[in-house]
Each structure stands twice: as C-alpha cells, then as structure tokens.
C-alpha cells in the first residue's frame, strides 16, 4: 500500500486533525460554510460562507523533527468577496452567499480563485508581499520627498525584504450575465476561459473580458409554461478544453463538445438510467434530481449525486452508470416527511480522491460516507465535536433501520436533519479531507503509522 494514494482498506483509519470555525454560541447564519475547495496542489484550502466571506487556509511546511505529522492548515487570508445587493428592477435581494469557489492553476507566485454568488462571479488574486521597493529617486527611506535639485544620478528602486503580508484583491468582476441563480462555475483546462451555469443557461467567459460572455447552452423554452427541467450543475472536462457536462433536475447528464457548434443545445452524449419501476413513487422525480456532477481526475468517468445515491458513469456508456452506491437508502421510506421539512431538496456534493479510487459524499446527522470503488467497501464517519481530540481515530458509524438497535448505532428517527454535510473536499494527492458541518470546518487525515 503506497501511502497517500488513498485506497480505503481496513488499514485506512481516519483521524481528526483540525476544527475551524466559531463556537456554538455566537455563531450566526452568516457563518454557515457554503463551499469548500482545495487548490491544485493541496497547499491551500478555501471556504466560502453565507456572509459572502472567503477564508483561505494554508498548509504549514512539514517540520523536520516531526516527520510523521502532516502539516496543519492555518488561516492564510480572509476577505469579503461578495456583499448583499438589491435588484431594483425586480425588487429582489441578491444574497451574498458564496455558492462556489474554484481555483485557477498557478501561473506565477500569486494565487487566483473564482468565487461566485447567485449573480456575480469575481476573480480574486491572493498574493504575498514580502519585499518592498527601496531606493526611490524622489523619496527618501521614510517617504519624505527629496529636493529634485539634489539628485545627481538616477537609480532603479530595488526590492528589499519586509514582514510577510497577504493581500487579496479583486481582479475581475463578471456581472450581469445571469437572469437566474448561478449554481456552478468551472475553469477550463485552456486556462483562458471558464463557464458559469444558472438554472437555464450556461455562459462561457474569457478571464480578460468582463463585459461580454458567450452563451453556450440555453434550455429556456419559448413558453415558460413548458419548462420541465433545469440545469443543476456543470463542469469542464479536466483535459479536453472543448468538452463539458451539465446535469439536470430530471436525473440526466449531457456531454457537449464546443467544437461542434457555437450553441451547444444539441448534446454529443446523453446519460440517463432507465427508471426502476419497482421504486417509483410520488417523489421519484424529485429524488432523481442531480445535485452535483464531477469528472474523475482521469477524465474517463463522471460521478453524479442525487438525493439517495452516488453514481459513477463511464463516458463511453450512456445508458446506465457503471456503479451505484447507496448513501442513505434508509431515508427512502421517510421521503414524505423529508418533503415536508424541505430536506428532500438539499443539494449534496460529491468528491473523488486523488487517484479516483474512493468517492465521498455527505449525509445527515453530520455523517459523511466514503466508498472504495475497488474493494467495494464503504464507511460512515461523523464530524462531531466529541471526536475532536487531536489525532483521535474516527469510529465508523452505523444507522439502524430495524427494531433492534445496538449500543453504538443510531436509529433513523434520531437523526438530526438540521446537521447536514453538503460540502466536502479531498486533497488532490493525499488522504486529507475537509468537511463542512454548518459553520464548522473539520479537517481529517488518515492515520500515519
């Protein structure tokens, strides 16, 4: 077993590493974490919250004395990304909640990320300043102006070291392109463009141009009364810069190639699993709505999350997924009450690990689930304060459906549906995961022997 490749065997134990976020008392709704994302190297971890703030954590360098202890994440930068706005034309409030954050691949010393709320996407530059120019011609070292008459020779200011300062500056604002709420953004592998998707349309942007975008998908019907389906998530292929997928509320995924036509209303591939008639119910369509779609790192598979399951699809097979994993099938009999308390509309995300061998998604009661695609093993873990001692090993949890409940099991009716894990992230190459539980961010690592 090569450490760090993340296969889930009986030997892999997950431990608590860190807990970020405010304490229970004093936590406001603005602190609820709405998105979590590692950057491409895993060095940085960004979270966005309902209050429009972005917090970036940076992994500290591993110290030489403690080779078996992996670096911890510390706050690197915090900034207010979006503010609440008011749409005067429609008399509607625009929430400042950060829906998604996506990192750009690093091209120089600074870090770039896209953050979006319902209507506006912003490109942020996070950079360090540890040098300061000194040796100006017209100012002396304290900043006082020098008398120009005293200058006899010219010099170019040079950079000298100073205390580290991290600053975040908004570099681009991409606004006014979406009538409906933005649910996804995805950076293209060409590093020049990205897309933003709302309920009915997907737009393609160039990072340099903020006042124009191309509309590449438009599923708005001419007559809105004929509307039956909305776009729920969209993502670019990790390597092919002209391919992307988008998922719908009807449980379908469409793959489009931008080279085929300018407006990708006609898909190149259409993924849909035929419905199982035995499972049909009043809620079938609602629970088939896909809340998240993610390409595998290899680009060969896509993973989709609907209310009760996670599915893995092979891009070459459109008529059914190659794997289906039950996340919390015990809820199937509770759909009615989940509909009444609106939980049936919760949008869970799903993530791949770095080698595409394990997938993870969240559930209720602060539980989250991992499925090993090779061994077919799965585990349920809990993000809770009780298990927050450093390097404490997480015990697998179990939900009991039947009458007889074992001591450490929890019955379905005792699940806390207000504690939902919607957003998780997996480090790109190591077994480090970030789990957002309401306003807390848990970081877990696998146990290093």
């Amino acid at each position: 077993m090569i450490p760090g490749l993340g296969a889930l065997t009986q030997d892999t134990l997950w431990c608590f590493s860190q807990l970020k976020g405010t304490v229970e008392i004093g936590a406001t709704e603005a602190d609820i974490i709405s998105t979590v994302e590692f950057n491409h190297t895993g060095e940085l971890l960004a979270t966005g919250d309902k209050g429009g703030r972005v917090v970036i954590f940076q992994r500290e360098q591993e110290s030489k004395n403690q080779v078996h202890r992996r670096g911890e994440y510390n706050v690197y930068s915090t900034f207010q990304s979006h503010e609440p706005e008011f749409d005067y034309l429609k008399s509607l409030e625009i929430e400042e909640k950060i829906n998604k954050i996506r990192w750009l691949p690093q091209q120089n010393a600074a870090y770039f990320l896209l953050s979006t709320n319902d209507k506006t996407v912003k490109l942020w530059k996070v950079s360090e300043r540890d040098k300061r120019p000194e040796g100006y011609n017209l100012k002396d070292e304290e900043g006082r102006l020098r008398d120009p008459a005293t200058i006899t020779t010219l010099r170019v200011p040079v950079l000298r070291p100073m205390d580290l300062m991290v600053e975040a500056t908004p570099r681009r604002v991409f606004a006014n392109a979406h009538t409906y709420h933005i649910n996804s953004i995805s950076v293209n592998s060409d590093y020049e463009t990205y897309m933003s998707a709302d309920d009915l349309r997907i737009n393609l942007w160039n990072f340099e141009i903020t006042n124009q975008s191309f509309n590449i998908v438009d599923i708005k019907p001419a007559n809105m009364e004929e509307l039956t389906e909305v776009i729920t998530a969209a993502e670019f292929h990790p390597h092919h810069c002209n391919t992307f997928v988008y998922s719908s509320s009807k449980g379908t995924i469409r793959l489009c190639d931008m080279r085929a036509s300018a407006l990708c209303d006609r898909h190149t591939k259409f993924f849909e699993e035929p419905e199982d008639p035995s499972n049909r119910s009043f809620f079938s369509e609602i629970i088939s709505s896909i809340s998240d779609v993610k390409f595998s790192h290899s680009g060969r598979y896509i993973m989709t999350r609907d209310y009760l399951t996670v599915k893995v699809w092979d891009l070459n097979m459109e008529n059914r997924p190659i794997e289906t994993y039950q996340v919390h099938d015990y809820l199937r009999s509770k759909l009615c009450s989940l509909y009444e308390n609106d939980c049936i509309f919760d949008k869970f995300e799903c993530v791949w690990n770095g080698s595409d061998s394990v997938i993870m998604t969240g559930s209720y009661n602060n539980f989250f689930r991992m499925f090993d695609r090779n061994t077919k093993r799965d585990v349920t873990l809990e993000a809770s304060r009780e298990n927050s001692k450093p390097r404490a090993i997480l015990k697998p949890r179990k939900v009991c459906v039947g009458g007889k409940r074992r001591k450490d099991e929890i019955s379905v009716d005792s699940l806390d549906f207000s504690k939902k894990i919607l957003h998780t992230a997996w480090h790109p190459s190591e077994n480090i995961i970030a789990v957002a539980a309401t306003n807390n961010l848990y970081i877990f690592q696998d146990k290093v022997n």
Binding site: Q107, N108, A110, K125, P133, Y136, N137, L138, K139, P148, A149, I151, T152, T153, L154, R155, V156, P157, D190, Y191, E192, E208, C241, N242, R259, A260, S261, A262, L263
Partner: protein, 544 residues
C-alpha cells in the same frame, strides 16, 4: 548610451522610474509605456532588469511592445550581447507567461545578428511552436507571420512552411484557427506558385475542419485569401468554398460568410463577375434570406445591397429587389433596420421612382413599428426621402406621418421629429411651413398632455431659426406667450427658455413690449425653476 547631462532632465526621469513600483496600475502602465525613454536615460545595463513576467496580460503586452521598440535602438552586436540572451532566458523560463512574451520578440532581434545566432533563434522558435502548453503554442502561432517577414524566401520555404503545416494540424482547434490568418500573412511573402499550393491546401483542410471556429476563421478571412490567390484560382477554387461556407450547418459560420458577401463579389474579376454572382452566389443568398437564425439574416441584410452597383439596374430589379423586400418584411427588427439604412446604394442604381414604388408601403409600416429604434431610423431618413420624392409626393404621402411622430410615446422620436421639421422647412421653404407645419404645431399647445404642449415649444425653438423674424413674431410668439400661463411648471419654465432662444431673432420693440412683461411675471412665479429660467432669459436678452 549617454547619461543626460543636464540636471533638469533627471527629474521627470526620476518620477517615471519611481512610478514603476507604484501601487496604482495605471501609473505603472504609464511608466512602462515610457520604457524606451527610461532606457535611454538609464543606459543599457540598467534597462535589462526590467522584464516582462507579470500576470496582467496588458502590462505584459505593453512591456513587450516597449522591448520591441527598444530593440531598434540596439546595434547588431548589442542585440547579440544583450537582447538575444534576454529572449533565450524568457524562452527557457518555467513560467508560461515568460515563454508567451518571448514569442513576440523574435522578429525584432533576428535581422542583423550573425548566422549562428539566427540558427539558435530559429530553434528556439521551433521549440515554442511545439511547446506542451496550449497558450504558448497559440502565442507562437500568432507570431509566425511576423517572424516569417524577416526571413529569406528560402528560409520561409524550408523552415516556416513545415512549422505552419504542423500547427495547422495541431490537435487543438485554438491553434488551427490561428493558422488561417497566418496563411494570409505568409502567402503575401511567397511567389505565386508556392502560395497557391499553400492557400488551397489550407482552405481545403480548414474549410472542412470539424471545429466550427476554424471554419469561422476561413469565412472571416475569406476576402484576404481571395486577394492572395488571384482571379484564376478564385474562380475555380474559392467560389465553391464560399458556397460551402454559406450553407454550413453552424449559424456563426454562415453569418461570417454573409458578412463577406459584398466584398467577395466586388473582388471578383470583372470578366466573369456578373455571371458568377447570378448563377453561383445568388441562389445561396436566397436560401440565407430565409435562414432560421436571425443573425445570419441580419448579416446578409447589412451587405446585400452592395451588390446593386455590381449587377446594374435590370438585374437589381429582377433578382435583388425580391430579396430586399423579403428582408424588409423580416420579423426581426435588426434585419429590417439594416435594409433601411442602406437604401442609398439601391437608389443610385435604380432611381427614386422605382424605389418608392417598391419600398413605400414597407416604409410606412416601419414608421409605425413597435420598436422605437426602427421608427427612429425612418424619422432620420425622412428628410432625404422628402428631398428625393419632392414636395407634392411628400405632402400627399408622408406629411401626416411626420406630424404623428411629434406625439410619439418615446421622447427620442419626438425629439428627432422636431429636428426633422427643421430640415424639411429648410428644403421646402417657410411658406410651406406656414401653410402646413405651423398650424399643426400650434394646435399641440391645446393638448391635455403636457408633454405634447412642451413639444410645441421645442418645435418653435427650431422653427424660429428657419422661418425668420416675421413669421415667428406674427404666428408663433403669441402662442409662446400664452403658454406662460400653463398650469404645469415644466411648461412654464420651457416658455422662459424658448423666449430666451427666439428672443435673439425678434425685434427690440417686440422684446420690450411683449416678451419682457411676461418674463417679469414669470420671475414672480411660485415655482423656483420657473423663476430661475425667467431670470436667466431676462439677463441673456438684456432685459433685466
């Protein structure tokens, strides 16, 4: 490079250099713009420090531009000692941006250096053209033409053409589409036989590329390709290619081809031009008139009238007029707009009588179009039409239309209609104005809607100039003065403004006896704006 010898000139230099480090991007850009000046002041040694590895593309581009400008100041040995190593450092850089910047620097340092260095530079460029990173390949590809310009013909054939072929079959369409433009650039450097092969092969592959963006570039650069190959190849090779583009299944490509229709036809050789247009081009254009995509139809509408001078009167009436009429009735307002805006070239060819016979019913429809911008175009076109058709025709057909615009819901139309009146009066004379226009304008002052009453005043403002003192005093002034008692304040202060405007052409006695009392009364008005404008008017007219 000499240091400046007088102390005075150091100060602006100091400011520029200091601003290179300024927080404000705009100031940094300013300084980088002046890089060549700074370099002259600093001398070669210190200049080399200022390199272009920033992530903001526009700062990078300006820096590269400045480097290119500086290179002209270098002697060949300086280029070899300093500039070429700089380029090599950028080429070998880890960061993508440095390699991108390098691509633009080859053409300026290649000429003049030794053979050995030239070979090195060529190798560097080749490497960039096969770089793993897409953005670098794109940057190299877009500079291919520029670089080729400074090479010898033999080198172009042996070095550039193979690079071109590779890039033209790159797996990424972003690179392939750049080659269409490069094809044009390189073709201009080659002798006839060589370039024909190059262009035709490119056309063939690119015109049938599976990626629509590549085909779009072919359509976009079509007329340039046409100029490069000459008339013979155009007839045999390009016409079929153009037809294919016009019936491409991607609307963006069809629209791009439509945009080039007129230019393409104009550039056809005169001996076969008419024939080719009638038999090869027009049938496809007819299809495009009823294209499902409105942008295609709009593009077609903006250029198709340019074919009239080429085909002549009879052909225009027989073949083109039906197309214009169909487009004029299009459901999309942009399409209709494009036709209306270009009627001039048709008029030149077939004459006003024919034109009016065909177009008048549709013009009348458009004058009442739901979209105000469409109506606006007709309003603005009206003086020209009036001039062409003549007074009788105008009075019979168009007069009531012009009057109805004065009470349009949209202010922009009312304003345009008012200016329209002025131009009409200039054409047809004050007597005509007195007989037909002025009575109607004056009746507007009785309208219940205050906006219409204000229109009266705005019309009088413009008409007074062209009608002169007599008519203004006898016929228009009484109404203006009467409106000083209007219940709406906006009307009253516009009365003051009107009096100020027309006062300059009135007789002094009139001003004293009739205008002044009214203005003085308005300065006692209960509304503060009325008082203000009345006072203004009294001051300007020297009545205070």
């Amino acid at each position: 490079m000499a240091e400046p010898d007088s102390d005075d000139s150091l100060n602006p230099m100091s400011i520029l250099i200091d601003e290179l480090q300024n927080e404000d991007i705009q100031l940094r850009i300013n300084s980088i713009n002046k890089l060549s000046t700074i370099a002259l002041a600093l001398g070669v040694e210190k200049t080399r420090k200022l390199l272009a590895v920033v992530e903001e593309a526009i700062v990078r581009e300006k820096a590269v531009e400045s480097l290119r400008a500086i290179s002209h100041e270098h002697s060949p040995s300086h280029l070899e000692d300093h500039f070429v190593p700089l380029v090599k450092r950028l080429v070998g850089g880890d960061l993508v941006n440095s390699r991108i910047s390098a691509c633009s620097l080859f053409s300026v340092c290649y000429p003049g250096v030794s053979i050995a260095i030239k070979a090195e530079l060529l190798q560097c460029f080749r490497d960039l053209c096969s770089d793993d990173n897409l953005l670098v390949r794109c940057a190299a590809a877009s500079n291919l033409g520029d670089f080729a310009k400074v090479l010898e013909i033999d080198d172009i054939k042996s070095e550039i053409i193979p690079i071109f072929s590779n890039l033209a079959s790159d797996e990424q369409d972003s690179v392939r589409l750049l080659m269409v433009e490069m094809c044009v650039n390189i073709a201009q450097l080659l002798p006839q036989e060589a370039l024909e092969a190059l262009v035709m092969i490119t056309l063939c592959h690119a015109g049938e590329d599976t990626s629509w963006r590549v085909r779009y570039m072919v359509a976009d650069k079509f007329t340039e390709l046409q100029t490069a190959v000459g008339p013979e190849i155009t007839k045999t090779g390009l016409v079929p290619a153009f037809q294919n583009l016009m019936k491409d299944y991607e609307p963006e490509v069809r629209a791009a081809a439509s945009h080039k229709l007129k230019e393409f036809c104009e550039n056809l050789s005169a001996d076969y031009r008419e024939n080719v247009i009638l038999t090869e081009i027009l049938p496809f254009s007819q299809e495009l008139v009823s294209d499902t995509n409105q942008h295609v139809r709009s593009a077609l509408a903006s250029v198709i009238m340019g074919l009239c001078p080429i085909l002549g009167k009879d052909n225009t009436i027989e073949h083109l007029m039906p197309l214009f009429l169909a487009l004029l009735r299009d459901e999309c307002s942009d399409v209709r707009l494009n036709i209306i805006s270009n009627l001039n070239c048709v008029k030149e060819v077939i004459g006003i009588q024919e034109l009016s016979k065909f177009l008048l019913p549709t013009i009348m429809e458009l004058a009442e179009d739901a979209k105000w911008r469409v109506r606006l175009v007709i309003v603005e076109y009206m003086p020209l039409l009036a001039g062409q058709f003549g007074l009788e025709f105008f009075d019979a057909q168009l007069h009531s239309l012009c009057m109805s615009w004065l009470v349009d819901h949209v202010y922009a139309i009312r304003e345009a209609a008012t200016n329209n009146l002025k131009k009409l009066v200039e054409q047809f004379g004050k007597e005509w104005a007195l007989a037909t226009v002025i009575p109607r304008v004056l009746t507007l002052s009785e309208e219940p809607n205050y906006l219409h009453r204000m229109t009266t005043l705005f019309c009088i403002n413009v008409l007074s100039e062209v009608c002169g003192q007599d008519i203004t005093t006898k016929h228009m002034l009484p109404t203006v003065l009467y409106m000083a008692g209007d219940p709406v304040a906006n009307v009253r202060f516009n009365v003051a403004k009107s009096l100020q405007k027309i006062g300059s052409i009135l007789e002094n006695s009139t001003l004293q006896t009739e205008v002044k009392p009214i203005l003085e009364k308005l300065t006692q008005d209960r509304d503060v704006d009325v008082k203000y404008f009345a006072q203004e008017a009294l001051t300007v007219l020297f009545l205070a």
